[in-house]
């Protein structure tokens, strides 16, 4: 076993190095070898993790200059390794063609190399069982992803996104380091061991952990980096970051929550509330978005919210010592993390193909792609159905499990908690319905109707590798959905949990039989003739793309209904020739939505730092000698007083 892990490590190292050897080599063979090696490593680690899930844990230690980096693959780690490996495998297939789209040869090689580093670091974050190792690979993961976000560094927009991502992610790490120090002081060891602190200190530990991991996961209000980093980075990397990296943060949160003993009730409630807010705001922001990749990024925030909701439920039910329900909640969250990684990377990859074909990320300039990009559109459709939680696909099953946990909240004694749970449940229901609306918009505006630009009209179908990678994920989405009852029963038996789920296999078979019968009957009764003709345009001779519904038009009712959240600012300043305002001269009109978190949460501390540093700058900037001597004098005086007080 340990040999296999070493093999994975070495293979991934090799695939980091190989593209760098031929950095200026135009031929794609080295990149292909490297990508195939990544796939191999992913396959080995899937095999390994399945062994762990079926059998027993693997643990081993690596000594680096006297410090032990202990590693452990238990079922939790194995589960997340499977997520990383499946997505890594499919993204590697996709990248065989995708990497060749970049102009500069150096960039193509760097993309593959950094991707291998990124996957390696994520895998080793998950199996690290030691604070130091965890932090090391965590930072490696952050830095490699930062470099990948900055991939198109020539663009001004990308630079901003990269810096934003870097600052946010490092702020998160500061919180993590702080909490790790707390754990270390308490336990005296760098290993993950049970930590029992005073209620106050353990609450502080919880807060720092939640902020640290929440920032990486994209929890509201620390979510802003996702909407910048995802559109800026290459699509294969967005797929990895959104599909996998934010799940690694969820892994960290669960892992560290397990080692804090004496959990308090309000922790679970806090996670639940922040999860609900993330889910709702994520999807509400996604709905109004016109940048395809940013829309998907916001939808990731929604799904992280859903995962956090189930973790919150797990903590609340554990507090009330209802382990049977609590475990269902935890499994629902993990299952949703798994499902989300499948369909979100599927969506990001197909979105990448669309962006490549149309050379724009703005969905208002797309449309009609279903005709030229048949397979891509079908794959995107499957992703859209899965993420909208519609049966029989996998997204539905995890949301169903969460609903069923909510339905059991009657067993909690406290009325207040019940009320909170019920409100959270109805908002969760709203979220999943809005997700369906959001993806009707995404699919409908991007793929259906008349092309809205020349590029969209001339788009070409993606390369075969760019179809195979997402296709595997699409098939998995379907298979896992249909066989969910069998899969979860198998897992449930091992873990001693019973999930009360409908048997989707029976229902799918039933649906299939009904479908065939209905189709045959309709075919025989109905008129078989059909005709193709122009869309009715109220008397206008030919339909053009300007007459279609737009993406902003589609989301307009929802923007109006939720205007208190969006706070749309309408600016309308007309000027007139005459005094009564009849003859229009010129004017300016714009509609913008408030950037609440940036304007009210991120900017004030920034302004404060600016303010303080400006003041300090003034002090330092006086170059005359007298004032410096005065400073020295004042410092010595202050020191003397302090020393005097302390010694006495």
């Amino acid at each position: 076993m340990v040999l296999l892990i070493t093999a994975v490590f070495l293979i991934l190292l090799l695939s980091i190095v190989i593209p760098l050897i031929g950095l200026k080599l135009k031929h794609s063979s080295l990149r292909k070898i490297s990508l195939i090696l990544i796939m191999l490593a992913c396959l080995i680690s899937i095999f390994l993790s399945l062994q762990v899930l079926l059998g027993k844990d693997i643990s081993f230690q690596i000594f680096v200059s006297g410090t032990a980096f202990s590693m452990l693959i238990d079922s939790l780690a194995a589960f997340f390794i499977i997520i990383i490996s499946i997505v890594g495998f499919c993204v590697s297939i996709y990248s065989i063609s995708y990497a060749e789209h970049f102009e500069s040869v150096k960039k193509r090689n760097f993309l593959v190399s950094l991707m291998a580093l990124f996957i390696l670091s994520m895998m080793f974050v998950v199996i690290s069982h030691n604070l130091l190792g965890f932090l090391f690979f965590w930072e490696l993961m952050s830095i490699s992803s930062f470099l990948l976000v900055l991939f198109d560094y020539e663009k001004e927009e990308t630079k901003k996104a990269g810096i934003f991502y870097f600052v946010m992610t490092q702020l998160g790490t500061i919180f993590l380091i702080f909490s790790f120090i707390l754990i270390y002081i308490n336990t005296g060891t760098l290993d993950f061991t049970n930590t029992s602190l005073s209620p106050f200190l353990s609450s502080i530990l919880f807060i720092t952990l939640a902020i640290g991991f929440g920032t990486k996961a994209g929890m509201v209000p620390f979510h802003k980096w996702l909407s910048y980093a995802h559109p800026a980075s290459p699509s294969s990397i967005s797929a990895l970051m959104s599909g996998v990296m934010i799940k690694v943060a969820i892994y960290g949160l669960i892992r560290f929550l397990f080692i804090i003993s004496q959990q308090q009730l309000w922790w679970g409630i806090a996670i639940l509330i922040f999860g609900t807010i993330s889910a709702l705001l994520g999807i509400i922001y996604a709905l109004k978005e016109q940048d395809l990749k940013r829309l998907l990024a916001y939808s990731s925030i929604e799904n992280i919210g859903i995962i956090l909701i189930s973790i919150g439920l797990y903590m609340i039910f554990t507090y009330y010592s209802l382990p049977a329900i609590a475990l269902v909640a935890l499994f629902a969250g993990l299952f949703h993390a798994f499902n989300h990684s499948l369909f979100k990377s599927l969506l990001f990859m197909t979105a990448g193909s669309v962006v490549n074909a149309t050379h724009t990320k703005n969905i208002e300039k797309m449309g009609g792609l279903v005709k030229n990009m048949k397979y891509t559109s079908l794959l995107f459709l499957i992703g859209a159905i899965s993420i909208s939680a519609l049966p029989p696909f996998n997204g539905f099953v995890s949301e169903l499990m969460i609903f069923q946990v909510f339905f059991k909240s009657n067993s909690i004694s406290s009325p207040l908690i019940k009320l909170i749970l019920m409100i959270s449940m109805s908002l969760f229901a709203l979220t999943s319905a809005l997700a369906a609306a959001c993806f009707v918009k995404a699919f409908g505006i991007v793929f259906l109707a008349v092309p809205r630009s020349k590029e969209a009209k001339e788009a070409k179908e993606a390369d075969k590798f760019m179809l195979v990678g997402p296709a595997i994920l699409a098939i998995l989405c379907m298979v896992i959905g249909v066989f969910s009852f069998q899969i979860l029963n198998f897992i449930g038996e091992k873990a001693g949990v019973s999930f009360d789920l409908p048997n989707l296999l029976w229902i799918s078979i039933g649906t299939f039989i009904i479908g065939v019968i209905a189709y045959l009957i309709i075919r025989n009764i109905g008129n078989k003739h059909s005709r193709v003709s122009e869309t009715w345009g109220c008397g206008i001779n030919s339909q053009n793309s300007k007459m279609e519904y737009t993406a902003s038009g589609f989301s307009e009712p929802i923007v109006t209904i939720f205007s208190s959240i969006y706070q749309p600012k309408k600016i309308n300043k007309p000027t007139f020739y005459d005094s009564k305002g009849v003859i229009f001269k010129e004017g300016q009109a714009s509609l913008s939505l408030i950037k609440f978190f940036e304007e009210y949460l991120y900017l004030p501390p920034l302004k404060m730092v600016h303010y303080i540093s400006e003041k300090l700058y003034k002090i330092q900037n006086k170059i005359d000698l007298d004032s410096f001597i005065l400073y020295i004098f004042l410092t010595i005086l202050a020191l003397l007083i302090i020393v005097g007080v302390v010694i006495r």
């Binding site: 918009k441 229902i507 193709v532 038009g553 929802i558 109006t560």
Partner: protein, 310 residues
């Protein structure tokens, strides 16, 4: 096993045969209130047959979505029929009957219907899809709260089990409060006044009609039939929850026959009341709808909290 097959066949046939009837019945009631004679009671059947016999016209812009959406709609509706027992409850139900699955199967149908609305590239279709998805999003919390209440009261998330409990007289008094939100959900999901107006072709008011404007012939017939089926199912939920007299008699030919007659009487009364409600209420403005939904939400939340705390 056999009883399930019997159930499946009886349920599907009854719902499919009855579905068009209520469409014309409600129209008739409204016509009478407006002082008109109104259509024949079986007019909807003639309409469907006529549409089935007509050729389908597809837009030049449209894709496979337009072609599969009617089939997906009708298949989803038929599968949904298997979730709501109308006349009796079989011994075994093979995983059917889950409330949430029922809702999401209908949502799948709606998803494709909305996509088909966008497919032809017509402004009407897009407008209909946009409004329909917005309305169905904001009604969702109410639906979930209603079903959560049922799940708490009957300790089950399965229609078969819940109706099994109501049929032996386990109806809580406080549950009657749910009737109002349920009727609002019924009016919303079947695109009726005050949420939507099924009769006009005026872009200010239409939602559902706009979405299926580009459908024609056989496909339109399938769309109409599936919305008829949805209406019967939602009516059946209300009837079997609150007025379960004659439901689930011992399994025999006479038992099923009696249940059928009882269901017919109850559903005709309900359909007539829907017609009356529609005649007395004006269509609400689209952006006034959240107020109606807020009322429904509040009522269902109050019921839920009452059931949970008392």
């Amino acid at each position: 096993m056999i009883s399930f097959f019997l159930f499946a066949i009886v349920n599907i046939l009854v719902v499919l045969i009855l579905a068009p009837f209520y469409i014309s019945l409600i129209k008739k009631v409204k016509a009478l209130f407006q002082g008109r004679k109104g259509p024949k009671l079986f007019q909807a059947y003639y309409n469907l047959l006529k549409l089935f016999k007509k050729e389908s016209i597809y837009s030049t812009n449209s894709s496979f979505i337009m072609r599969v959406a009617p089939y997906i709609n009708i298949i989803c509706s038929i599968v949904a029929i298997l979730f709501v027992p109308l006349l009796f409850i079989p011994d075994n139900y093979f995983g059917f009957g889950n409330i949430i699955l029922f809702l999401y199967i209908l949502a799948l149908a709606k998803f494709f219907m909305a996509l088909a609305g966008l497919d032809a590239g017509s402004t009407f279709g897009g407008m209909g899809s946009s409004r329909e998805m917005s309305i169905s999003s904001i009604i969702e919390p109410i639906v979930i709260i209603i079903f959560a209440t049922l799940a708490f009261v009957y300790n089950s998330v399965n229609f078969f089990e819940i109706f099994g409990a109501t049929s032996v007289g386990l109806v809580h008094a406080s549950l009657w409060l749910l009737l109002i939100p349920l009727i609002i959900v019924l009016l919303t999901e079947t695109a009726r006044i005050p949420i939507d107006n099924p009769e006009t072709h005026l872009e200010l008011t239409m939602v559902h009609e706009a979405m299926i404007l580009e459908q024609s012939g056989k496909n339109l017939a399938l769309m109409e039939l599936s919305s008829g089926v949805k209406q019967v199912l939602l009516m059946a939920i209300i009837i079997n929850l609150f007025f379960p007299i004659g439901f689930n008699l011992p399994l025999s030919l006479i038992g099923i026959g009696t249940s059928l007659i009882a269901f017919l009487i109850k559903s005709i009364i309900l359909a007539i009341s829907i017609g009356i409600i529609e005649s007395f209420i004006a269509k609400s403005r689209l952006f006034r709808l959240p107020i109606i939904f807020a009322i429904a939400f509040l009522l269902s939340l109050i019921t839920l909290m009452m059931e949970m705390l008392l």
